[in-house]
Amino acid sequence: MKIRIFLPLMLLTGCTHSVHMQHVSDFDHVSAAEKRSVVTAETEQTVVLGFVFDTDYVDQAKQQLMAQCNGRLSAVTTQYSTSHSFLHWTNKIRMQGLCSEG
């Protein structure tokens, strides 16, 4: 049970994730005749040893989502997760909505 045997093995497991929360907005009553498409936006922030000074990547995800839809966005789901790594990690925001245009 030497540590040098474990090290290469364990490096393979440095790829875990944690889904912190999933928020679901209200669903509008969209009629079947209305054109409706799914739009998705994803942004992320790399953090080294906890040194991070803003949460602007969240606002960027909203801007990206809105940029894809000129109409109304309903059924918006927001997922916040983190991917773990060696001495650093990546926070991720994923937003998805139904775009109703027309």
Binding site: S25, V52, D54, V58, D59, K62, L65, M66
Partner: protein
Amino acid sequence: MFKRFMTMAVLMTALTGCVSLNSVSLTQIPAERSNEISATSSSWTFLGIAFSNDFVDEAILDLKSQCAGGKVEGILTKFQHTVFIPVVIREVVATGYCHKG
């Protein structure tokens, strides 16, 4: 070695005011997005020990007051912590769109 490294990491982090996101939510976004409004409320705590969460209501009341008689939609709400050990600042940031008429 590991303990010394972790102690250094903790000390360095304590001095720099790092931010961590706790939760985020986004409500339905309207087609009309010309009037953006924003509200922030925060609360200082010692070692993160808090006795009330009433500061959250301040953000909601602020948003309401900026859109009197209208409807606020597309609200992006962030709840985050900023740490300056031993002080922890809890903060709610809400941004939305006000539609009147």
